[in-house]
């Protein structure tokens, strides 16, 4: 699957959803967008496409999140519409364990906002 690029996904930063996310982290819901809300607008939006891709055949139930990196140009604002696009930058199997590196780029109005790099391990827990 290395090199596979998924179609861009639009996502609106909704205040009520952001506040619920902040509360789940024990953070102040009035404190703005928590940085790791990128797990939703950068990673969640795009990784879903990978997990639902029958050709990629990702065994979601045996998937563990091994590494994560986010890089922000700025934090998104409430009400803002962002566009996220994901791609598989590496997909290798070693001793029966599959390692997928998945990168997502988020922009607003054509200007970069955030970059996400996730490493997923599938079949490593057994």
């Amino acid at each position: 699957m290395t090199g596979r690029v998924y179609p861009p996904v639009e996502f609106r930063i909704e205040a009520s959803h952001v506040e619920a996310f902040a509360r789940a982290l024990g953070a102040d819901p009035a404190g703005g967008v928590p940085p790791t809300y990128a797990a939703v607008y950068a990673l969640g939006t795009t990784a879903r496409q990978l997990f639902e891709d029958s050709e990629a055949a990702v065994d979601f139930a045996r998937l563990l999140h091994r590494e994560q990196e986010f890089e922000w140009e700025r934090q998104p604002e409430m009400g803002e519409m962002v566009i996220a696009q994901g791609q598989v930058t590496s997909d290798v199997e070693r001793r029966g364990v599959r390692f997928i590196t998945f990168e997502s780029n988020v922009s607003a109005g054509g200007v970069p906002v955030c970059r996400s790099r996730a490493v997923f391990v599938i079949g490593g827990a057994q």
């Binding site: 959803h17 619920a20 996310f21 509360r23 789940a24 982290l25 024990g26 953070a27 404190g31 703005g32 967008v33 928590p34 940085p35 790791t36 797990a39 939703v40 990673l43 969640g44 979601f60 139930a61 045996r62 998937l63 563990l64 999140h65 091994r66 590494e67 994560q68 990196e69 986010f70 890089e71 922000w72 934090q75 790099r117 827990a125 057994q126």
Partner: protein, 118 residues
Amino acid sequence: MRELVVEFTKEQIAAYAQASGDSNPIHLDDEFARSVGLPGVIAHGMLQMGLLARVAGEPGRLRRLSCRFAGIVRPGDTVTFRGDEHDQTVQLTAVNQDGQPVVSRAIAELNSADDRAR
């Protein structure tokens, strides 16, 4: 040095699953988690990272955040998250009640306070 001590609960993990949209059953269903070789439900890596971000610094200054999820976190575990800032770089740690690190290579880079004002 900033520090946050969190005792993880099934309720918090379920709340994070709902709020983040990551409802993989390994976070919600003990029986299922055991069926795939885990000791029971585990916390989301992204929940741990969200707590790391809280000790990394002011949200508006965060430029980069990365970590490796090195150990599992289960309900009942107490994890101490620490951030130690030097020259806009924050070394982050998360250690459970047994002294075991649950993340490794955890680091944040911050914008200077001047950049934030732009």
